[in-house]
């Protein structure tokens, strides 16, 4: 631990009890709100914290007074009462109870009701829709009105996790493709999942909602200021749970339109590239990139997998087996079938939902010709497209 770190820790430890402005690097309360929902939640949270702290201090001040005064060492004579005796005493025991009823259902209950209404109002005056699909361990973002799809996965290099490289500023909270949203627009966010339950969470939006396979859930956000907002998956979803960040880049409307146009152009270029025939080197190079990003988490960078949990690809019967039959159809439970359609009930998901034709062709080619596997054959994007 560096000296700077030690000092900031010490300062932070003190600042917990001091004003917010004295804080060093320690974040100890909800982050600054970026949406109306987060603002409302922060208000409710701060109010409730003040109320509960007040109750805590009052109640335990009474208790501590008693501990200090009513002790045998001070020759305090014990009383013998076992309950409220007189009408006045009954009245005084009821008072705190009634105060609590008032706090629960009026002081806290009414703002809480309001914030629930705000949270649940996902549809009124929504300007646009984004569909978020969680899958182990990345997020897929879809803009149905624009026909744009992108996959967002962790961008932090493995070496930083293993301590072989210095950790960057946004360690574990950086992605290759952030979700880009315009500011000032009410975005209705639809959530689902392809495998297990994930939870989409951006603390500054005040929104956290489960993504459930087979169901659509929804939430919303109207982002006030441009900026980058970071969060991560909040529901334990397997070994990569800590490594599926949510990064939202909020931009002004014109910039957003520009981004949409650029994405559309990229996607049509990609569709065109899927039509042509790729060379072996191109496939291997692209395949290696995809493998490192998508497959290596489980099957490991050296293709050895983790015994008992994730099968090895090196020397695997499946990888060294057939792909397509003579008529160009998928061989059931063959290598390509497994990559495209996954294996139900395991972490091996249907990658045809998140990878493009070129990605799948490249990564399958790569796996068949790496880690000591020497199949020698190539898979072309067009062949993948034909069996989708």
């Amino acid at each position: 631990m560096s000296a700077r770190r030690a000092i900031s820790m010490l300062l932070g430890g003190l600042a917990v009890f001091g004003p917010a402005s004295a804080r060093a690097s320690l974040d100890w309360n909800l982050p600054p709100p970026a949406t109306p929902l987060a603002l409302d939640t922060l208000h409710v949270h701060n109010t409730f914290m003040v109320i509960t702290l007040t109750i805590f201090v009052l109640v335990f001040a009474i208790m501590i007074y008693s501990i200090v005064v009513h002790r045998k060492s001070r020759n305090h004579e014990p009383a013998a009462f076992t309950g409220p005796g007189t009408a006045a005493q009954i009245f005084w025991t009821l008072i705190p109870f009634l105060i609590l009823v008032f706090i629960d259902f009026i002081v806290m209950g009414i703002p809480a009701y309001h914030s629930v209404e705000v949270m649940q109002d996902t549809r009124t005056d929504a300007d646009m829709v984004v569909k978020v699909t969680g899958s182990q361990w990345k997020w897929q973002y879809e803009y149905p009105e624009e026909g744009i799809k992108l996959v967002s996965s962790l961008a932090t290099p493995r070496a930083q996790l293993d301590g072989q490289a210095a950790k960057g500023e946004h360690y574990l909270r950086e992605v290759d493709n952030p979700l880009v949203l315009p500011v000032g627009k009410k975005v209705r966010i639809l959530l689902t999942s392809t495998d297990v339950i994930h939870t989409w969470w951006v603390p500054q939006f005040g929104t956290k909602r489960d993504a459930i396979p087979g169901f659509i859930r929804e939430t919303w956000a109207t982002i006030a200021q441009p900026g980058v907002y970071r969060g991560q998956c909040a529901e334990l979803c397997g070994t990569g749970h800590a490594f599926m960040p949510v990064v939202v880049q909020a931009v002004m409307e014109p910039e957003y339109r520009q981004w949409v146009a650029q994405k559309k152009a990229e996607q049509s270029a990609q569709a065109a590239s899927a039509q042509r025939t790729w060379s072996r080197d191109e496939l291997m190079k692209h395949g290696q990139e995809i493998y490192a990003k998508v497959c290596a988490v489980c099957h490991q960078p050296n293709g050895q997998g983790i015994p008992g949990t994730f099968p090895a690809l090196a020397g695997s019967k499946l990888v060294n087996g057939p792909l397509l039959d003579a008529a160009g159809r998928l061989v059931k439970d063959g290598h390509l079938d497994r990559v495209m359609n996954g294996k139900p009930g395991t972490a091996m998901q249907a990658f045809k939902a998140t990878l493009s034709d070129s990605d799948i062709a490249a990564v399958v080619t790569f796996e068949r010709n790496s880690f000591g596997n020497k199949m020698g054959d190539l898979v072309q994007p067009a062949q993948v497209k034909a069996v989708r």
Binding site: R5, F97, D104, V116, G214, F215, G308
Partner: protein, 531 residues
Amino acid sequence: MTTADLALHGSPHAPPRGLMRWLTTTNHKDIGTMYLVFSLVMFFVGGAMILLVRAELFQPGMQMMQPELFNQLIGVHALVMIFMALMPAATGFANWMIPLMIGAPDMALPRLNNWSFWLLPPAAALLLMPFALALFGVGSGAIATGWTFYAPLSVQDGMGLDFAILAIHLLGISSVMGSINIVVTVFNLRAPGMTFMKLPLFVWGWLITAFMLIAVIPVLAGAVTMLLTDRHFGTHFFNAAGGGDPILFQHLFWFFGHPEVYIVLFPVWGLTPHILSAFARKPVYGYRAQVYAFWVIGILSVIVWGHHIMTSGMSTGALLYFMYSTMSISLPLSVLFFCWIATIWRGAMTFEAPMLFALGMIVLFGIGGLTGLVLADAAADAQYHHSYFVVAHFHYTLFAGGIMGIMAGVYFWLPKMTGHMIDEILAKWHFWLTAIAFNLTFLPQFFVGLAGMPRRVPDYALQFAEFNMLSSIGAFVLGAAQLLFLIVVVKCIRGGPPAPAKVWEGAEGLEWTVPSPPPHHTFQTRPVIGE
């Protein structure tokens, strides 16, 4: 070996010696002792697991273990602590103290009692065995879904999950049988004159725990069995593709899971007033109010489970219902706090170790209760849920409210059980180290949780580093402090100043009228309770 035991040798009531005594015993004190020892062992097993986890979380980056093992350790830690440390400790107290407190010669169903206990070691073996099997290359280790078993992650998981399901079944059978035994004992074996409204509060707390266990354990058993058939027999209870619903599992689990919190806490809330009254030398305040509060909390506890799954996308109506019903639990709970404080008010207090733990429990559990009130708010809950805020909250309830309460009970009753006084100085050190280290561990977790750190992650963003380091340091001190507990308990069993029948000056009740330790068979003649 006590004099009472020696006197029994040669008589038909003499217990067999050696291992057979413990395997075949139907004596409530022997079985109670076995429960307590089992609980103590598992407390250290579960604690060791979480220290490995805290070591990994000491700083950002993956240092000690891969996420596979991390995910196993957090889930098994929880299952061990809840089902094998807290619950057996409470059952051990019930076995030891309920017959003494109500003037019964033994538990009503002694053979069932023996069986209830002996199901626990196989359950522990089942839960922990996958760790060992994985070392030999069999399977992928223990359950890796956290203790909540959420489908469909649990449908994916390796065979450790099947082991955990079978362990849960054994634990469930054990709990239900133990509960039936307690209900039957309290209903049938009370001494003449011991009416229900004269039952000691500890017995009341346990009676309601027993009813709750009988009500909700079968729901958990059903849920995990449905999971088992989803995994192996092609059913689709929790698979949307086959017409099922993953959220159904969460509803079933928390229908059990929320009452489980009170199942663990009622025995502690029951024993707390005994300790407060004894060391304040003043009768329990608001006996009736506390009994009614127990009932109200017991009933409320089975209708508020939805607050555990408020981010799953419930309807607005359901959110509001679960929010207000959860908030209303604070009302009967406030009655308990009021009665506890009124019990020590204007007493003549001394502060032996049991009293310190009881008072510490009240203050720290107060934080757990108040944060629970805040968590009830469905919109703010969206920020707290799945975050370290929740982890801190439930450790303030289950460690401070549960385990520290159990420790208060151990120090309170151990002299009665062993006939020796405890080492007060060491026990006081144990209390202060525990209380300080506990706060150092869990207070920072409230802050990282609010700042946005999710739970169950083996690695985290740099902004959370400082608080996690503090928390890990706290955890190691907390773990080390528990070795003092072990030393005090072992010292007390092996010897110490003799304890009189009435161990504590202000203690009241039947259990303090029999010698310390009580003879192998108590109450040769039935005590009669007067006005």
